[in-house]
Subunit: 347 residues, 2 copies
C-alpha cells in the first residue's frame, strides 16, 4: 500500500470515499513520506458549526467543549455531523515527509487552507484552555496534511488575525488576476466590475484586477457608507451604488460607471445576484461567481434567458500561490490593509 | 420611449424587473422595430409545470386546460406560478421588425429557445384542440420575441420532434467545442471525458469534442446497457462504466480509460457528481457543468478541498449558432442520430 495524495489511505470508514465524505479518519501521528504533521495551536471552527453546537447545548460552554472533543475523538477530524462543516487551524510544522510537495519545514508557523472536514486531527489537552465560548479554540494536538493540501505560512510582519482574514478569501484575487491576464494576453485591457467591492474578497479582487492590467475597475456597493469607505480606500476607478439583486438597476449603474464590464466578479454573499451579474457583463465577457449564495441553475438559466454569450466561472477557492499573492497585494496597497483592519476592529 | 433588447418595455408589473421576473407582460400583437411576432402552432409545457397542474386538478383535462388559459390571460405569458417554469413553443414567423437581429423572416418555421416564462403570449383559440392531457399543446395565437432572444429555424430534412430534442440540449456541444478549440489553439490536443456520454447532451458533446480536435474522447456511463449503446454508436474512443457519484471510482475509471481528462463535461442530471468530476480532471484542466443538479457550493468547496487547480464553468445554454451547430453534428454523425431516434422512440 502507498499513500494517496488526497488522503484515501487515512479513510477508516466507509471504505473508498474521500476524506471529506468519511465518517472516520485515521489520525495517528506517524506520517507517510508525502505527508506533513502539524502541532496544533488553535482551531477556528466554522461559524455555522459553532452556532449549531451552541444552540444544541443551550450555550453551555462546558457541554460545547465536550461535544467538540467527542466529535474529534469519534471521527478523527472536526466535522460537525449536523452542519457538515469544519473550519481551519493554525499551528507549527512538526515534521514534513521527504516527498511532501507543500514546501514547508519544521518550525514554520502555518494555517491550513483546506477544511478541517478532511484533516486528520487528534487533541491531547482535552481543550482545557477553551471555555467553549466562541469559534476560536486554543488547542494542543496534531493534524496531518496530505500531499494535495493547501497550507500557508503566517507572515512575520502581519498580525495572525489579519493574515487569516486575508487567507480566508485569497482565492478571489488570484482567480480574478488570472482571468484579467488572459484578456491582457489577447490584447484586451478589460473593464472589471466587482460586486461587493468594499468587502474582503471584493477589495482584494479590485486591487488584483488593477494590478493585472484592467483598463478600468468599478466597485459596486449597496449603501452610501460602503461607497464612502471604498472611495476613501481608492481601490476602484469608480464606485457605484446599486442593489445587486435588481438586474436592471445593477446593469444601469455599471453602464453609467463606464461599463458594461468585460469581467464581472461577484463577491456579495446574498442570493439573487446572478441575473444582474450577467446583464451587466458585455457580450463575450466573463462572470466569476465567488459568492456561496450563487444558484447554479439561476446562473445557467439566467444567461440563457437573456441570450447572453458570457463565460461563467465557479470561483474555485484554490489557485496555486493564492495566499502569497493576496498577502503581497495587502502589503502593497494601504487602502486594502486599512479596509481589512477596520473590518477586523468591527468584528 | 424605445424598446429594450431584453424586453423591459413589455413589463407591465412590477415595474423595472426583467420579463422573467414579471407578474404580467404586455402581449399585444403590434411589434417594435427590433421585435418578431410568431404565429403559434404548439406550446411544449415544461414537464415540472405540467405535472404540478395535473396534480392540482386531479388529472382533469378540461380543468388543466382552463388553468393554462387562465395563466396566459392573467400574466401575458405561460409561467406556472407554482413551479415558476414555462416551456417553449413552435410556430411560424408572422412579422419581423426591420431592426430585429434574429435573422428570421415571415414564413420561417421556428422554435423559441428562450423560455416561455419571459415570452409575451396571447392565445386566440381557447386551446380547443388540446385535451389537457400531456405537455404538447396545439394552440393558436401569437408570441413576441425581443432583440435579445434565441430562435432556431426548424430544418426541413428532420422530423420536428428530432429537431426539438436536439435544440433542447444544443448549448452543451457548442460550449464543449469552444473549450476544446481553446486548448487546440494553445497547441494542446485535450483528452475529453463526458460523464453521461450516452445521453442526449452527452452524445452530442462527445462528437463536438472529437470534431473540435480532442486527442481522445472518453464516454462515462453508469450501466452496461448504456455502455453497449454508446459503443455501438461509436461516438467515443473509449467507453467506461462508473458511478459518477463515487469520486474515487470515477477517477479510477477515467484514469484507466486514458485520463485524467483535460476537459470533463458533466451531462448527467444526478446530484453529487461535482467531486468526481474535479478528481478525474488533470491539474490545469477544465470542468464544464451542464447538469442542472449541480451544486455551486459542492463544486467550489470540492475543488478547494482537493487542492485542485481546475477551471469550472457553469454550462451556459446559449452560445451563438448553437442550434445550427448541433444540427450539423446530428446530420454528419449517424451514431448520434441513431441514439436520438432510439431515445425518442422510448419516450
Amino acid at each position: 500500500m502507498s499513500s494517496s495524495p488526497v488522503g484515501l489511505h487515512r479513510v477508516l470508514a466507509p471504505s473508498g470515499v474521500l476524506p471529506q465524505a468519511a465518517e472516520k479518519l485515521d489520525a495517528s501521528p506517524g506520517i507517510w513520506p508525502d505527508e506533513v504533521r502539524i502541532a496544533v495551536e488553535r482551531l477556528n471552527l466554522d461559524a455555522a458549526s459553532y452556532r449549531q453546537l451552541a444552540e444544541a447545548h443551550g450555550g453551555d460552554g462546558t457541554a460545547i467543549r465536550r461535544a467538540v472533543l467527542d466529535i474529534i475523538e469519534t471521527r478523527g477530524k472536526m466535522q460537525n455531523p449536523v452542519t457538515g462543516s469544519g473550519g481551519m487551524l493554525v499551528g507549527v510544522v512538526d515534521e514534513a515527509g521527504p516527498d511532501s510537495p507543500l514546501g514547508v519545514k519544521p518550525g514554520d508557523r502555518v494555517a491550513t487552507l483546506v477544511s478541517l472536514t478532511l484533516t486528520p486531527l487528534q487533541i491531547t489537552d482535552r481543550l482545557r484552555e477553551w471555555d467553549g465560548e466562541g469559534e476560536q479554540v486554543p488547542a494542543q494536538g496534531h493534524a496531518i496534511l496530505f500531499a494535495r493540501s493547501i497550507v500557508a505560512k503566517l507572515p512575520d510582519d502581519l498580525k495572525p488575525e489579519l493574515s487569516l482574514a486575508v487567507m480566508d478569501v485569497c482565492g478571489a484575487p488570484a482567480l480574478t488576476a488570472r482571468v484579467v491576464r488572459s484578456y491582457v494576453d489577447k490584447g484586451i485591457k478589460p473593464v472589471v466590475s466587482v460586486i461587493g467591492g468594499a468587502g474582503k474578497s471584493g477589495s482584494l479582487s479590485l486591487v488584483a484586477a488593477r494590478t493585472a492590467g484592467a483598463a478600468r475597475t468599478i466597485g459596486v456597493v449597496p449603501v452610501q457608507q460602503e461607497k464612502e469607505r471604498l472611495e476613501s480606500a481608492a481601490l476602484a476607478d469608480v464606485v457605484t451604488l446599486a442593489d445587486a439583486r435588481d438586474p436592471v438597476a445593477l446593469a444601469k449603474a455599471v453602464e453609467d460607471a463606464g461599463g458594461p464590464a468585460d469581467i464581472t466578479v461577484v463577491c456579495v454573499d446574498v442570493p439573487g445576484c446572478e441575473h444582474g451579474a450577467v446583464l451587466s457583463t458585455a457580450a463575450g465577457g466573463t462572470v466569476i461567481f465567488f459568492s456561496m449564495a450563487t444558484s447554479f441553475s439561476a446562473a445557467a438559466l439566467g444567461a440563457e434567458g437573456l441570450a447572453a454569450d458570457v463565460t461563467m466561472l465557479v470561483g474555485n477557492g484554490y489557485v496555486p500561490g493564492h495566499a502569497d499573492y493576496a498577502m503581497e497585494l495587502l502589503r502593497a496597497e494601504p487602502g486594502v490593509r486599512g479596509l481589512f483592519e477596520s473590518r477586523l476592529a468591527e468584528d
